[in-house]
Amino acid sequence: MGTNSRNVFNPIRINPETCVKCNLCDWICPGDLIYKEEDNRETLPVIKYPDECWYCGLCQSICPTQAITVVFPEQMVHNKTDVVSLLGKVAG
């Protein structure tokens, strides 16, 4: 049950060279997934709960230095699911 054991895909890439450690991505994330130590210009933001990402890209849109890129996992980009399997066990 569940998908917890699977390796968790990281939905966003943060470029450590261009990130200015400003806290805005932490502030804007609607899912409370990105944690950035406040008042510390040394530490990078951490994607603490990557499997709870909605892929909304608000972090990317607010980043002042375009240091964030949203990356979609394989099962979203090249999806192989049989849609009929989502329509329930009563249909057949």
Binding site: T3, W54, P73
Partner: protein, 578 residues
């Protein structure tokens, strides 16, 4: 970990709003204008984005009274019974529709520019089966920012990263709530003369193509918190049997596809047939529920995959599409890019999204908390608006009913209600202790597994095809799952918030299955399709199914749609005088 009730932060206010989206912000505005103190609890951290879709807005439904007959409240209202397949609270829908022009002008006065940047005029489109060009297509990237600014200017207190876990109710009157901040762990008791629930729809409730629980069409952080808390507080809910699915690019449950359809895109099946006219004479201009139903049927007939086809459209229309794509969902262009699909020249494979409990693809019929014409629920001084209420209509429905509820709150408070009760300290302590116990369930059930069971059960038996046997099986599973509530494990404060969400999702699924079992007919296609009662039965089922708390879980009763939902409320003086 545990502490006495003196360890709670205490806030006394006039109005508590749960949820800082469009409905919550619009409810706060009239209260602030009346000089009332307002506290808003919000799980996110900003007021600048829509609660349902997290971004801007690309279309807004309104009447403008611009001259032609179709652009009047009377004309639209006349069509509401057919738009809702007869299941609608005409009293509340009537109030919402009549208030549309006024609230539209008010939003314009807050700084939202609905005009087309190029022509300087309103670009109005016909979509989702509505009998006129009621949707303004516009660049609403900053729509919510203007609403949020007004709330901030009004000096509302906004508690961010805060989850409300229980309403305070005495003698069927709401007087506040208990909440905790999932960053600091601080608990707060908020006493208020009135409470507005505006926490949105129910997501993460069934499976989708990607299999990722948080990949949902509407924001996955809307988890039916208002509906579950309202239920526990004694409010009534209606239309909970109606589910909503949409169509998405396969693999990414995002909005944006419907905007393409309203701009002229077609659906085709694997044989290349444009099939939508088989299901509705309006073709792709049919209601959202009908469009989704058509695609579900084609898949079940073995005619999938289904594709979105934009190739016939003129370049200027494709340009407009490309521009509006990212307003609703910022990452959609990047998704198409990573996928390597150019929707201008290629077919885009389409999937049926996960389900949600919202308004079942129908305007003016919401699934959620029953309200009267002032937005007040069956519990006095407890209001609801937006996707968690029974009259829902996208962004504009949330804005209009939100504003109505805000004005209703002002009336309710002016009508008096005596001193605010003092909550029982033992009850407060118990709420907190039970919650924090999840942090110590080292061997307990992970909330992700609990949620996955809910999703699988709903997908299999409470989804787009239902029957009595399957629904009973689902109810058995969902009730058994509830027995495990106390053992749910949270690894940290963030996880504790998710535990509460997971419980709320399950509660909503149980309400949905209970209501679905009660309605022994099929209505609005796949929104409520009973294989054992495949026909729409107007003679016996022009009725609401109302869900409320019984002694042993949710119970249902029915009410003729000739009556408003508030006719089933037991509180005296059903509405304060307008």
């Amino acid at each position: 970990m545990s502490a006495g009730s003196d360890s709670f932060q205490r806030i006394d206010t006039d109005v508590l709003v749960v949820g800082g989206g469009v409905a919550g912000s619009m409810a706060a505005i009239p209260a602030l204008e009346a000089g009332l103190k307002v506290v808003i609890c919000e799980k996110g951290k900003v007021l600048d984005h829509c609660g349902s879709i997290g971004c801007g807005v690309d279309h807004y439904l309104t009447i403008m009274d611009s001259g032609p007959e179709w652009d009047t409240p009377e004309f639209l209202l006349k069509h509401v019974p057919e738009l809702t397949d007869g299941i609608v609270d005409m009293a509340v829908a009537g109030r919402v529709i009549h208030e549309m022009p006024r609230i539209f002008r008010k939003i314009e006065s807050l700084g939202v520019d609905f005009r087309d940047r190029q022509t300087g005029d309103y670009y109005r489109l016909r979509s989702f089966g509505l009998p006129g060009t009621y949707h303004i297509n516009f660049d609403g990237t900053d729509f919510k920012k203007h609403l949020g600014e007004r709330v901030r200017k009004g000096k509302a207190t906004v508690l961010m990263r805060t989850m409300v876990v229980q309403l305070l109710v005495r003698d069927n009157r709401a007087y506040g709530a208990v909440a905790f901040n999932f960053r600091s762990g601080e608990w707060t008791v908020i006493r208020a003369k009135a409470v507005v629930l505006a926490a949105g729809d129910v997501n993460r409730i069934s499976k989708n193509a990607s299999g990722l629980a948080f990949d949902s069409w509407h924001i996955p952080y809307n988890t039916g918190d208002a509906q579950a808390m309202g239920y526990h507080a004694g409010a009534q809910l209606a239309n909970m049997e109606s589910v909503e699915a949409t169509l998405t690019p396969k693999g990414f449950s995002c909005q944006g596809l419907n905007a393409l359809v309203s701009l002229g895109a077609h659906f085709v099946n694997k044989a290349g047939e444009r099939f939508m006219f088989k299901y509705d004479k309006k073709g792709e201009n049919a209601r959202r529920a009908v469009i989704a139903d058509g695609v579900i049927n084609e898949y079940l007939l073995g005619n999938g995959p289904i594709y979105l086809d934009c190739r016939h459209l003129p370049q200027d229309m494709l340009d407009r599409m490309e521009h509006t794509l990212q307003v609703d969902r910022y990452t959609l262009p990047a998704y198409y890019q990573q996928k390597g699909v150019n929707f201008r020249e290629e077919l885009v494979e389409v999937s049926v999204s996960e389900l949600s409990i919202r308004r079942s693809g129908v305007y003016f019929r919401g699934s959620g908390l029953s309200v009267d014409v002032n937005g007040e629920t069956a519990v006095e001084a407890l209001f609801a608006a937006g996707d968690c209420a029974t009259v829902s209509g996208g962004i504009s429905g949330a804005a209009v009913l939100g504003h109505i509820a805000g004005e209703g709150v002002v009336q309710r408070i002016r009508a008096g209600g005596g001193a605010l009760p003092e909550p029982d300290p033992r009850m407060l302590e118990q709420v907190r202790a039970q919650s924090e116990a999840h942090l110590r369930q080292d061997e307990g059930m992970p909330w992700k597994d609990y949620e996955e069971t809910t999703r699988q059960t709903v997908s299999d038996y409470v989804g787009v095809r239902r029957d009595e046997r399957g629904l009973k099986l689902a109810l058995d599973t969902l009730r058994a799952l509830a027995l495990r509530d106390p053992q749910l494990r949270a690894d940290d404060l963030h996880g504790l918030m998710r535990v509460h969400e997971a419980r709320n999702i399950r509660m909503n699924a149980e309400m949905m299955a209970t209501a679905s079992l009660a309605r022994q007919e099929t209505r609005t296609g796949s929104s409520h399709f009973r294989m054992d009662y495949p026909q729409t039965d107007d003679r016996n089922w022009r009725k609401f199914v109302i869900v409320e708390r019984g002694s042993d879980g949710p119970v249902t009763r029915t009410l003729s749609t000739d009556q408003p939902l508030s006719a089933a409320f037991s509180r005296g003086n059903a509405a304060v005088a307008a």
